[in-house]
Symmetry: C2
Subunit: 198 residues, 2 copies
DNA sequence: CCTACCGATCGGTAGG
DNA sequence: CCTACCGATCGGTAGG
């Protein structure tokens, strides 16, 4: 027996439409700066409508983090899966991340860099969701490095240590590019990463 | 002829007392989240009093950035000047930065990491003040590296490139330690920095 | 999904 | 430095 609930289908469509605005607003103004009123205005909707869709600001923030995860997965992780396991995939992940940041997939640069800086020292469910997303990403990167080590393409390497250094360089390039409005940090990061993966 | 303006002297004392609270609030809640009302409450003062001392929120933010610069200079830069020019000073700067972050000199970790992430994509005088502070710090680090190269203590090194990599590792350690509430990133950063400076 | 409304807080001003 | 106040906006509720 199929339930044909038109309201639920419309709700899902509305949610994803509003979500696009939410992710953009949060990437520039932060998850705390993402207000229900301004989001409603951006989505040409009433405040009550946004509240009806998401319930509370915290749930809106959690939905926004989840939506950003999907964008990140589609932009960085999925394309890298087209590459064979091992060093090629590690290189691909680094390059795709730099492109994702440089092309300003999110208006305010890497969504997770902004979110983790904003929530780094404030406990709560939203902090935990951001930390979990970062853990997933680090874990995926580290796993990819492990494959490269197993294949003998990287020798004398501690995967955890290399994962730390790669993410530091990727995030550093994102931050400095935003702060100084320059593309040079991306080239600096590439140079360092190529040396680490040589 | 000496001007003895008791009000001005009292104003300066009050300002620096309020400033200490402002820097702490901004390091956890961000420069935008630093509200005049909560700062007044933290300093046991009326809102009007805070406004009288600083004039506007933007001027309060600028004063807060300046105060954070002084703390950073006293905690990281000045002690490093005790070391002789060259590689010893570069090592000292890196170690002092990691200690400054790990000891939570600011409640929310490195003040400038938080501020630059928050204001990275929002133009204005406060953004410019933060960017200028970061530029000074990078310039000092790069200059210290140049001395080490000139002294023959670092060979085959591009100072600009090395400065980028060091700051990426230092900021990366700060961010990951805050996000995951762990001291491990500091050890990872030390390992990488020791290799770069070997 | 809407309108209408709630109490709280925002940055800032007036006047002393 | 204070009190008293301004209009705007905040997150959220009520009722439909």
């Amino acid at each position: 027996m199929t339930i044909t609930d038109g309201r639920r289908a419309r709700g899902a469509t509305s949610r994803s439409a509003v979500m696009r605005h939410a992710v953009d607003l949060a990437s520039t103004d932060g998850l705390e700066g993402l207000s229900i009123g301004r989001l409603a205005a951006a989505a040409s909707m009433s405040k009550g409508g946004v509240v009806a869709l998401f319930g509370s600001k915290e749930q809106l923030q959690l939905a926004t983090v989840a939506a950003a995860c999907e964008v990140f997965a589609a932009t960085v992780v999925s394309p890298a899966l087209q590459q064979p396991r091992g060093l090629a995939r590690v290189r691909s992940l680094a390059e795709l991340f730099l492109r994702y940041s440089e092309q300003r997939t999110f208006a305010g640069g890497c969504f997770f860099a902004a979110a983790s800086a904003e929530l780094g020292s404030r406990p709560g469910p939203v902090h935990d969701a951001v930390a979990a997303a970062m853990r997933d990403w680090h874990g995926f990167l580290r796993g990819s490095i492990v494959r490269a080590v197993e294949a003998g393409e990287l020798s004398g390497v501690d995967p955890e240590q290399l994962a730390f250094e790669l993410t530091a360089l990727l995030d550093g390039a994102n931050r400095m590019s935003l702060l100084f409005d320059s593309a040079e940090p991306y080239r600096r990061a590439s140079v360092a990463i190529n040396r680490l993966l040589a």
